[in-house]
Symmetry: C2
Subunit: 137 residues, 2 copies
């Protein structure tokens, strides 16, 4: 996959997977909605400040971001490895906010439990069918 | 989710996600086919001995195993945290082998690149809609 194919692949996914390392050194992973915003190597997600995983990233920002597609006969995946920063600045929260988010964050864009995860990719690897290769970002 | 619901949920998934920690301390995750066999807290998967991820687990067996389902209006996920053991014993490889695997492992069940990952769950956490809780295994 070349850079253009990787970007297109990522932008078409509805679900992403964010990985963290917990306080005991074990990997954790969870499905999240597609990034709300992508800017260069930065991927922005909405999250809950009180969650166990946000606590993990505040302790250890090491992270991965994974996208995959499983077709009937083919499989493709892209993983980025990098760092997560937990952002609570109101201007950033306002920028990413959409009206429907009130279903989850009752207090609106200033809900104290609403925070933004900014994942910055440092390197990547793609998989397609039985091929795989590292790439730089 | 109670224990019975968790077991049923896991057995109905076609895709699972295995997490590892790489040599630099970053989490990695990859989609894999559903476990070939589940026995108590042990989940068995087919893998490639030469792969980067198998090398990671041989170095650091810390792992997670994640299953999720995204419906139109609901989301559910189950994560297990535990250890991966890379198994190359021929009796285990033979036991898990199915004829169709020859598409990937040309040398059959004795293909030197075919290995088995045995993931042993130590603890778990479930997510359903906006609820979540830890559970023991």
């Amino acid at each position: 996959m070349n850079g253009k194919q990787i970007k297109k692949f990522v932008r078409h996914r509805r679900v992403a997977f964010l990985g963290s390392v917990d306080g005991e050194g074990f990997p954790n992973v969870k499905a999240v909605c597609a990034p709300r915003k992508i800017e260069g190597n930065d991927y922005y997600f909405l999250s809950n400040l009180s969650s166990a995983r946000v606590a993990q990233w505040r302790e250890n920002g090491n992270a991965c971001l994974y996208f995959y597609r499983k077709g009937l006969f083919s499989y493709a995946g892209v993983i980025f490895v990098g760092r997560v920063e937990v952002v609570t600045e109101q201007t950033v929260k306002d920028e990413l906010w959409r009206a429907g988010d009130k279903f989850i964050y009752k207090g609106g864009s200033s809900d104290p439990d609403y925070c933004v995860l900014k994942f910055t990719a440092e390197r990547g690897r793609w998989y397609r069918d039985l091929k795989t290769a590292n790439f730089s970002v």
